[in-house]
């Protein structure tokens, strides 16, 4: 059983209230940071911990904090990205529902480190009930003197606000999130300037994922060096994995990074194997936007080594035989899954969620969806298979924000590894569109 750093007390009765949370060691990091550490020392601990952004990109959090511009007399902001909406990812919701004070504690400690006097939690609009939980918890923290003026007599003051989005996936992109927070249409901004220089209200801003911020109290309490000992290589600490799909025990698991994928899927401690005694067919390891991998490649790398749940191991082999840890949205598909239909479903999502600002993504996502719809329903041609690869390539890398890539990668990877299945849909449209029909040929591994 791996160590639980974030979710140790998640099942304690009443842990969402201030009193119970405090009894279980809550808000210790705030006391420690405000009373015994300078802001730079807190940042230094986060740097030492090797904590990487948990929202998907995996950028070192300490380095991001270090980039924050600190001009005199200009306010700075810490913004928590709680706009979790990647298909397959549902870890932040659970964390905020059960442990709202952990996030608030992280926000206070983080804001102190960055010198922010006002901080925001931007939460997905659909999670209205979580917003209420957070607001209640924030009120408790204010009442206990952990928020507001002169926190714990340290002279440091912080105001924390929760702001709901309106249900757009694109507002999870950090600059679109800032636009939305400012009350504008949630279109991603052109970069540079990066938020570290010109973010919210054109002030220096750090945007971090919920889970990243929730890891800060642990790092401050235990020390960055201690935190860095957990995990493997440059993937330090623990990660919440939201496992879903055809698993015996889907759910949210906190794992130590470096856990073998095979153990994660098959051991009873975690997902308990594939449901109904079926075979695993493919896995999308980090939320719908990362490349899909067939069973053979998700369990072992191309070189034959065990694939581990870590940033490095999952991306071993690049986008030819590898994928990404992403946001930790682990989607397992059994042998009865139609990859074409699944790819079409993902494309439909990205088509619906494209903001429409830049041309390759606005037009390309719709095009992909239409061609995949045709392929799935038995009206496609061989030419269409090459067409979607070509369109995906035309989108990838040419857009303002990463949504373009998120839409292109799953399509390119599906065709790369499951080309035979696409061809089967073209060559045998009747069989392919029959209810319950599924292609059972081998996947392409390289």
């Amino acid at each position: 059983m791996g160590r639980k750093l974030l979710t140790e007390h998640i099942n304690v009765e009443g842990i969402n209230t201030f009193e119970v949370y405090r009894k279980h060691g809550g808000y210790r990091s705030v006391e420690k940071a405000l009373k015994t550490m300078t802001p730079d020392e807190v940042t230094e601990e986060v740097k030492k911990s090797g904590l990487r952004g948990r929202g998907g990109a995996g950028f070192p959090a300490g380095m991001k904090w270090g980039f924050l511009a600190k001009p005199e007399g200009v306010p700075r902001y810490l913004v928590c990205n709680a706009d979790e909406s990647e298909p397959g990812t549902f870890k932040d919701r659970q964390l905020m529902t059960k442990l709202p004070h952990l996030l608030i504690e992280g926000m206070i400690t983080g804001s102190y480190a960055l010198g922010a006097r006002t901080s925001y939690i931007y939460i997905r609009g659909e999670l209205l009930y979580v917003l209420r939980i957070l607001e209640k918890a924030i009120a408790e923290a204010y009442a206990a003197g952990f928020l507001g003026e002169n926190i714990l007599g340290s002279g440091y003051s912080l105001d924390l606000h929760v702001h709901p989005g309106a249900g757009a996936y694109i507002c999870g992109e950090e600059t679109a999130l800032l636009e939305s927070l400012e009350g504008k249409r949630g279109n991603p901004r052109n970069k540079p300037p990066f938020p570290a220089v010109q973010g919210l209200y054109a002030r220096p801003t750090v945007v971090n994922n919920v889970e990243t911020i929730a890891a800060v109290p642990v790092i401050v309490n235990e020390g960055g060096d201690e935190y860095a000992k957990i995990g493997i290589g440059k993937s330090t600490g623990t990660k919440l994995i939201s496992a879903c799909g055809h698993l015996n025990k889907p759910g949210i698991y906190e794992i130590e990074l470096g856990l073998p994928v095979e153990e994660f899927i098959y051991s009873d401690e975690y997902c308990g194997g594939i449901w109904k005694g079926r075979e695993l067919k493919a896995v999308v390891a980090g939320g719908s936007s990362v490349p899909i991998l067939p069973k053979e490649l998700i369990l072992k790398t191309a070189a034959g080594e065990n694939r581990l749940m870590s940033y490095e191991s999952l991306s071993d082999g690049g986008f030819v035989t590898g994928t990404m840890l992403g946001s930790g949205g682990f989607i397992a598909m059994d042998e009865t899954t139609c990859i074409v239909k699944n790819t079409w479903n993902y494309s439909r999502f990205y088509h619906h969620e494209s903001c429409g600002q830049c041309s390759p993504c606005r037009e390309g996502t719709g095009w992909l969806e239409k061609v995949l719809h045709r392929l799935e329903h038995g009206h496609g041609s061989m030419h269409d298979i090459d067409l979607i690869v070509s369109v995906a390539k035309q989108i990838e890398g040419n857009t303002i924000c990463p949504l373009g890539e998120a839409a292109a990668w799953p399509v390119a990877a599906a065709v790369r590894h499951f080309r035979h299945e696409f061809e089967w849909h073209v060559n045998h449209p009747k069989e392919a569109t029959a209810p319950g029909a599924v292609y059972r040929g081998a996947a392409v591994l390289a």
Binding site: R362, E363, G397
Partner: protein
């Protein structure tokens, strides 16, 4: 000042200049196309991705190449930057892809479109696009909305460059239109049907790169290439309008009035609606003489000017480039003047 190398040509420009504007100072066929960027409109650019270029060296200090293609209209130059545009195959490939993306949902109704002949999308497609399409699906259409008696909105032709939104933000006291919806369903609209009407609203017609916003008083009157542009001015009473315009004549009649544009189609002086829509008699105006005809304009009718590289801004042309320029002037429009 920053010295950059653009397609092998060195040029020195003030700090803070964008790559696109540095290229425009050189001039000629190496200038990247721009469908959404508009110099007078603050904040425009970066959306159409037509001007993507390869930065093969970031700066003298940090000569690493930039990993992705960058939008030249919003990326500022750094001293020692090396940029590749027409000489880079990847850039030209991507540009072809952008043309394709912009055209898949465009109605291609040029024969009945008032913008035809002075349309940026036509020029862009002509210079960089393919003559066929791989798109078999039905094209996107929109419910028609009426935005008043002066301006016609054709949403199906729109490429969502946002220029008209910036015009309304920056020129007029109150913006009543904007982009509604998301993805390929986004559209220019007023939400609750509303008239876009104020002294400077007509400028949305001039900035529109395609035929999405056209002049209702000129609608279907004449193909633009049959009209003759003449520069003229009048003492305009409207605040902030100094009445410098181009009149478009057919015979003795003034068919339409527009602002004056430079060779990249950019308006330098905004004009008011009185000048644009109400003053259509020669007697209203003091004529200055024929307007300069843009090289890309159909009015030039086989007398295409070749774009000229501006020799003053170029520090040292490599000998091979000089030879190349002498033998092959920078741009030949589809071989029409061969």
């Amino acid at each position: 000042m920053a010295k950059i190398t653009f397609d092998g040509i060195e040029v020195e420009v003030p700090d803070g200049t964008t790559i696109l504007n540095a290229a425009r100072q050189i001039g000629g066929g190496i200038v990247p196309p721009a469908m959404c960027y508009y110099t007078p409109l603050k904040g425009s650019g970066g959306k159409c991705r037509a001007c993507l270029v390869k930065v093969s060296a970031g700066s003298a200090k940090d000569p690493r190449p930039m990993p992705k293609l960058v939008a030249s209209c919003i990326t500022t130059v750094q001293d020692g930057m090396v940029v590749e545009n027409t000489i880079n195959e990847q850039v030209m490939d991507v540009r072809k892809g952008i043309v394709e993306m912009l055209l898949i949902n465009h109605p291609l109704d040029c024969p009945v479109c008032d913008q035809a002949g002075e349309c940026s999308l036509q020029d862009f497609a002509f210079e960089h696009g393919l003559s066929t399409t791989r798109y078999e699906e039905e094209r996107r259409t929109f419910e028609k909305i009426d935005i008043g008696p002066l301006i016609q909105l054709h949403m199906t032709r729109c490429i969502l460059c946002y220029r008209c939104v910036y015009v309304a933000d920056q020129l007029t006291p109150e913006r009543v239109h904007g982009v509604l919806g998301r993805g390929d369903a986004s559209e220019i609209g007023t939400y609750i049907e509303n008239i876009i009407d104020n002294d400077f609203s007509g400028n949305v017609i001039d900035v529109c790169p395609v035929g999405a916003l056209t002049d209702k008083t000129f609608r279907f009157k004449q193909r633009v290439w049959f009209t003759k542009p003449v520069n003229a001015h009048r003492d305009c009473e409207t605040d902030k309008c100094n009445g410098h315009v181009t009149l478009w004549y057919k015979g003795k009649d003034v068919l339409r009035v527009t602002a004056r544009k430079d060779e990249y189609g950019e308006v330098k002086e905004w004009i008011c609606n009185t000048c644009r829509f109400d003053k259509k008699e020669t007697a209203d105006w003091t004529l200055e003489g024929p307007a300069h005809i843009n090289r890309a304009s159909v009015i030039a009718q086989n007398h295409y000017e070749l774009p000229v590289v501006n020799p003053q801004v170029i520090a040292d042309l490599p000998e091979s480039t000089v030879r190349e320029l002498e033998q092959n002037p920078p741009l030949r429009l589809g071989g029409l003047n061969n």
